[in-house]
Amino acid sequence: MANNQKNYDFHKESHTEPLEINMGPSHPATHGTVKFYLTLDGETIKDIDVEIGYLHRAFEKECELQHWSGIFPYTDRLDYTAGVLNNVGYALAVEKLIGIETPERCKYIRVIASEMGRLSGHYTNLAACAMELGALTAFLYFVEAREYLWDLIESFCGARLTHNYIRIGGLTSDLPDEFPESTEVVFKKNEKLYDDFAKLLLKNRIFLDRMRDTGGISAELAKEWGFSGPCLRACGVPFDVRKSEPYLVYDKLDFEIPIGSTGDNFDRFLVRMDEIKQSIRIIRQCLKQIPDGPINVDDPMWRQPSKDDINSDMESMIFHFKNVIEGQKVPEGEVYHAIEACNGELGFYLVSNGSGSPVKCRVRPPSFPMTSALPIMVKGSLLADLIPTFDMINLIGGECDR
């Protein structure tokens, strides 16, 4: 008996066994549709198995069946909180493969559009995180901010969620005339909502306790797992595609890359909060610097010409016919181009054999590496810590499962 006392193993002696439980796919916290197979000891996560793929819709195969320009609507559905960013990423990759450069005004508008996408994505993410931690009021403040932003996006592309705004070699439409003024009005409102949101959460002890020191990861591990975006920057690694490999006109703009220090959920939250400020700053600069001029490449071979040109210009009419029936004949080759999306590096790897459709259209989804690292971030912590960690990873089913 005395011997037993010494090596007393509570779990063995009390005949308890871990609780195995399915969290998801239809669970309030597993939005984006994912399933966690949890092994719980009381409330502590002993083991977690992440099962993705519930939103798999054969994106890559679908792309092989579409013309190059018909893929844009599919890309909208990748990260559906920021559809226009995916448009930009895909268009830039195709343009790199073709070797064309869009006019300056187009580049500025693309930057404005992608930063609005980033704003929308961050608003959604931060709001969802607040809601899942119980702060419904904060959630609705950012949803309201997002609504105003979507009104703005609607004013130049006509859609609120799936924008389908960018084209190979240009855009579908120019910005409306009163755009700078309406943007300023919206930004004024949104900055107020931002302050309210920050006041409700950032100094709230309950919120700090929930976010600090949970779901952390070291910078080395984060790099090894292939992190990018806010989750990597929260670890203190100043990696941002907009700075390290500037595309569009990001090298002409003055903005900062907010970085964290500890890599925990609160740092990720703060990095995103700061990025909202930076995005607004970028858009304001763009609206000041934006030159007049055409928004499309003047080459009917790549950018569909205007209706007037089609009716009057022989070459335009031929290319319009050929491009609609056969698709643009993108030259043979392969290309990888990455942009900075809401969650990190969104890369498009395209292979062309010279036909009207891609042979391969592979997407590097930024949230996939983070999702695969979720077990090492939450193992040993409490069930409740899974919620903010999963929120800050910001798994978007459409992007991760494709």
């Binding site: 309030p28 119980g134 702060a135 609705l140 409740a384």
Partner: protein, 364 residues
């Protein structure tokens, strides 16, 4: 021997309380919660339910809810314990209403040679009775989680029982200082002693009030202490598998508990039915020209109105807390209860004791 008139009097009081709680407060609070959150969140709030085109600022939603939930299927999951599953919501609801029986919602009034005391049962140990009864609600919650044969419900039930047990202890300790101050455990006596404004609990015991309110919200399992039913973690916690009228019972129990807790706050800290600076006798005097009976009646109506108004303010405070805060983690709730509020309430008892010993705090 209890007389017929006494019986009628008690039945009228019980009827008043039950109608007030189940018939008025529970449905109106669902409306208040919707509308108040809507105002706080820049929304319009529920306003779609209408009868022949009349919407009455969304008040009909309470009726619509009731009708919808009554006609819902009463679902009992396979493998669940049918008896306990049915019993649990009843066990949660009854203590919530029962606790109100010792809470005075008015003073004592004389009609002819008859004294009417506006409390259903004037117990000498009213405070203890309330705590004893509210802790019974734990059984309902725990049995609900246990009998549902659902892992999320079980986790919710475990969290709820641990939380409610812990805060039960702490909540009791937070008002010991108050009991020492009034030297009584009877609710009626405590209220009677707050006739003078300077004897109100909040003036002498505001630290206890803060601690008590924190415990009370935790006991209610509302945000920020709603870990047992955290919808993002445990789906709906212990009532995940409940639908229809049984769900209504849990829902009603939660709202009635809000009222009960607020009533306790009003009685213990905010002078019950008393208007500041106007003693009961003075109030009756004001209307003495109408005759003694009518003066008493008017004072009674005023007293009850004042009590209900104070109640509404405290409820409003609780709702504001609910719509402002995020949710604690389960272990943080425990830490807060045992390591912060409990020591603080012990310190407060010590401070009050010291104050009374040195006569810095008066004995009343």
């Amino acid at each position: 021997m209890i007389g017929v008139v006494d019986l009628i009097e008690v039945l009228v009081k019980i009827g008043f309380i039950v109608v007030l709680l189940v018939g008025v407060f529970a449905p109106v609070l669902t409306w208040v919660e919707r509308k108040q959150s809507a105002v706080m969140q820049d929304r319009i709030g529920a306003n779609r339910a209408d009868v022949f085109g009349f919407r009455i600022i969304g008040l009909l939603h309470a009726a619509a809810d009731a009708i919808k939930l009554i006609f819902k299927e009463d679902f009992i999951p396979r493998g669940a314990d049918r008896t306990l599953h049915t019993l649990a919501p009843i066990m949660a609801l009854i203590p919530a209403i029962l606790a109100f029986s010792v809470i005075p919602f008015g003073g004592t009034y004389t009609f002819g040679d008859r004294e009417v005391n506006l409390v259903i049962a004037n117990l000498d140990v009213g405070v203890l009775f309330v705590f004893a009864i509210t802790s019974l609600a734990t059984y309902g919650v725990f049995i609900a989680g246990w009998s549902s044969n659902n892992n999320w419900a079980l986790l919710g039930g475990l969290r709820a029982s641990a939380q409610m047990f812990s805060y039960e202890v702490t909540m009791g300790l937070t008002i010991i200082g108050l009991v020492m101050f009034y030297q009584s455990l009877s609710m009626v006596e405590i209220v009677a002693k707050q006739d003078i404004f300077w004897h109100w609990g909040i003036i002498w015991h505001w630290p206890a009030f803060i601690l008590f309110l924190a415990c009370a919200v935790a006991e209610n399992k509302r945000i920020p202490f709603d870990a047992p039913e955290a919808e993002s973690e445990l789906v709906a916690g212990y009532f995940t598998e409940y639908s229809g009228l049984k769900f209504v019972m849990f829902w009603t129990a939660e709202f009635i508990e809000i009222v009960t807790i607020s009533a306790l706050c009003v009685v213990l800290f905010f002078g019950g039915h008393h208007i500041p600076f106007i003693a009961d006798a003075k109030l009756i005097d004001c209307f003495s020209s109408l005759g003694a009976n009518i003066a008493n009646l008017v004072a009674m109506v005023i007293g009850v109105t004042v009590f209900v108004s104070k109640l509404a303010i405290i409820i409003f405070l609780q709702m504001t807390i609910r719509w402002t805060m995020p949710r604690f983690r389960y272990d943080q709730i425990m830490k807060l209860g045992w390591k912060m509020i409990l020591p603080l309430s012990l310190i407060w008892i010590f401070v009050v004791g010291l104050g009374m010993l040195t006569n810095l705090i008066p004995r009343i």
